[in-house]
Symmetry: C2
């Protein structure tokens, strides 16, 4: 073994990886059912549509698939994504869009460009752990904003911002539509309030929106980006991140960012040093698929599929309601739950693993003030039959902890 | 327009993008011939082989193409890359390898993990501009090491390191094999000396090796990674970056890193926040292609093709030798040249653009002490016929500057 004493940058001296990725080791165990990751299920992939899109993209422009592409993304894809944003209510043109290697890269680029180490960033409590990890590795001071069943508690946020010295917080990261992990969808009035707060307190907002297209009940609520045109002083304050991972295929690693020119241009300079460009081959496959209109046809089917899975899980959990309080979502991939029974989610998790079930205990989602009773259950990846069996295993896990439903 | 005053992180307050990417605007002008980018030419892509690999990869495992993959990369690809490294003389197993989104991402991950802002990093003078850009954006203090026609001047490096306080420089970034921009290949004795210096001065080395497989004359020289087993105290000091971009297709965005476990594990944690994983679809296409043995068959053909192009350009430049001194490379994509005629490369560039030719003036390759007479000519992308016409245009560009060959 080498006798080298490695010295690492401050963030990497004793780094802890993703707690969710740590769960992966359980997934390969035989018979394990997973309520853990927010993965599209195999049966929801449009395999034939994507196979065709890939075949056509390559047949049409093999050299454009194989060569380097512009850092901002291929025009054919950016046009399609602008159309998609328009259908989602945001008036955006191709030039406003940067294609990213998954929306995770969009967040990384924004952090590089906007964040100074030591600076304060507000996030929802609880929030997406990889955002938390990215912010902390960049040296951010993470402050948490309270949420309730509808997402950000905007009155509390107003009070919190008013109490902080002006300029201390410059950035708010949030997942307003079908949040990870809570599934909450921020109501219109609160969205307008968030934008007004941004204008009043000179905040920029990173709106992370991977799940927004997966609504299965209730009425559409426009994105913060779309609404910023309606709230004075908030135009230019929303950086919007989106992705094809949850609606088409994570394996493409195609996401996008909508941001004001000054921010976008800097993100492009950062992207030159990060990966030069997102795979033009993957971009062309995505562009062909979108141009075929298949996504617009698939979305209602996908949403209906997730509705069915969500309802099946909620129905299964009903007999456990004395043990577990749940927040029924109107879209997305997650049900957020709390153990009522006085046991913590990690204890329940250990018992669940013994029953061949995994979920994600809530602690890693909390930037601070962790709620040890909380857990995230995803209905996305398991089949209906696995959902039934998994819920039964969850019941037995409670039993193992000495707890039975009333 | 929004009335938002954006505040950016220090590196992005007045960022300058890639000077090479700035040349792109000329490339779309009608009739322009480019000696600028290090792009594989259209005719060198194995279109049919890649089409087949893509078809088979998807047919065999569509779900693995479409779903998220492990952050370290797919085992099927890592096995193939380990075999490729073995053929290149480095005894490496699949577990030593992290798949990256192009080798550019490998550099970015290493910088995050290894570099503290303000720390000193040594690079060759001249060097790859995107490495320079990445290091500077990360807040590195970039120190330059002198090179000659054979690459790093290791005696000068020894003296430079001896004169610096021990521990001030922890990192050396270099492209020892067919360097960008000089095309130089560091001889064996110098490689051993670099490794000995690394051991003596407690340096880590980032060995960037995108071009190493494109040798078209002379004998193979092992990589620093391979040689580190032979130099006491240097094992574990070399982080090796490589890529399929120059030998197969940039559009895949598939590169890889070989690094010691402590570094690799931290790079994986960084990669979780950067893009989660490199496109599993692209990885499977690459794995299928490599498993078919097609790359091993293609490499000698590719090398012969680049040799022909390089010789054609050198032959064309011969009548200009009183104006331009050139360094003939033994592989890679670049010829480094210096104007003898007392004019600077930027003046020559402006004249060349008027003649419908672009190349890259040497200034952006220099971390300091820019040599205004230097320029980089790439023979990779233009056809033989374009090389002939481009060289003629270069002659006319000199004429425009009032200079004719003796």
């Amino acid at each position: 073994m080498p006798d080298v004493h490695y010295r690492f940058s401050p963030a990497f001296q004793a780094p802890t990886g993703s707690a969710i990725r740590e769960l992966f080791k359980y997934l390969s165990l035989p018979g394990m059912i997973s309520f853990a990751g927010g993965y599209p299920p195999p049966e929801f992939f449009d395999r034939e549509g994507l196979r065709l899109a890939a075949e056509r993209a390559f047949a049409e422009a093999p050299l454009d698939c194989l060569q380097y592409g512009a850092t901002e993304g291929l025009p054919v894809l950016r046009e399609q994504l602008a159309g998609l944003m328009l259908r989602r209510g945001a008036s955006v043109c191709a030039d406003d869009i940067v294609v990213t290697t998954g929306s995770q890269q969009g967040l990384d680029l924004l952090i590089r460009v906007l964040l100074e180490p030591g600076q304060s960033v507000l996030v929802e409590r609880p929030t997406y752990p990889a955002a938390l990890q990215a912010l902390r590795m960049a040296g951010a001071q993470v402050l948490s904003a309270a949420t309730d069943a509808e997402g950000l508690d905007t009155d509390a946020l107003a009070a919190q911002l008013a109490a902080l010295p002006r300029g201390q917080v410059r950035l708010l990261y949030c997942v307003p539509t079908f949040a990870n992990p809570t599934g909450a969808c921020l109501p219109l009035a609160r969205r307008l309030q968030v934008l007004a707060l941004a204008a009043r307190h000179d905040l920029l907002i990173i709106e992370d929106d991977p799940y927004g297209a997966l609504r299965f009940s209730g009425a559409e609520v426009p994105s913060l980006l779309a609404l910023s045109r309606e709230v004075e002083g908030s135009v230019g304050r929303v950086m919007h991140l989106a992705s094809l991972s949850k609606v088409l295929a994570p394996g493409l690693r195609v996401g996008w960012m909508v941001a004001p020119a000054a921010v976008r241009q800097r993100c492009l300079i950062a992207k030159q040093t990060v990966d030069l460009c997102t795979s033009p081959w993957a971009q062309r496959i995505a562009a062909h698929y979108l141009a075929s209109g298949a996504l617009q046809q698939a979305l209602p089917v996908l949403a209906a599929g997730y509705r069915e899975k969500c309802q099946r899980m909620l129905a299964g959990l009903e007999p456990l309601e004395s043990l577990l309080s749940v927040s029924p979502p109107a879209g997305g991939m997650f049900i957020w739950a709390r153990c009522r029974a006085g046991i913590d989610a990690q204890t329940l998790f250990n018992a669940a693993v013994a029953e061949n079930l995994v979920f994600v205990p809530g602690a890693p989602f909390h930037p601070d003030q962790p709620d040890p009773s909380s857990l995230r259950l995803s209905f996305a990846a398991p089949s209906l039959e696995q959902i039934d069996r998994g819920v039964e295993r969850l019941r037995r896990a409670f039993e193992r902890c000495g707890i039975v439903p009333n």
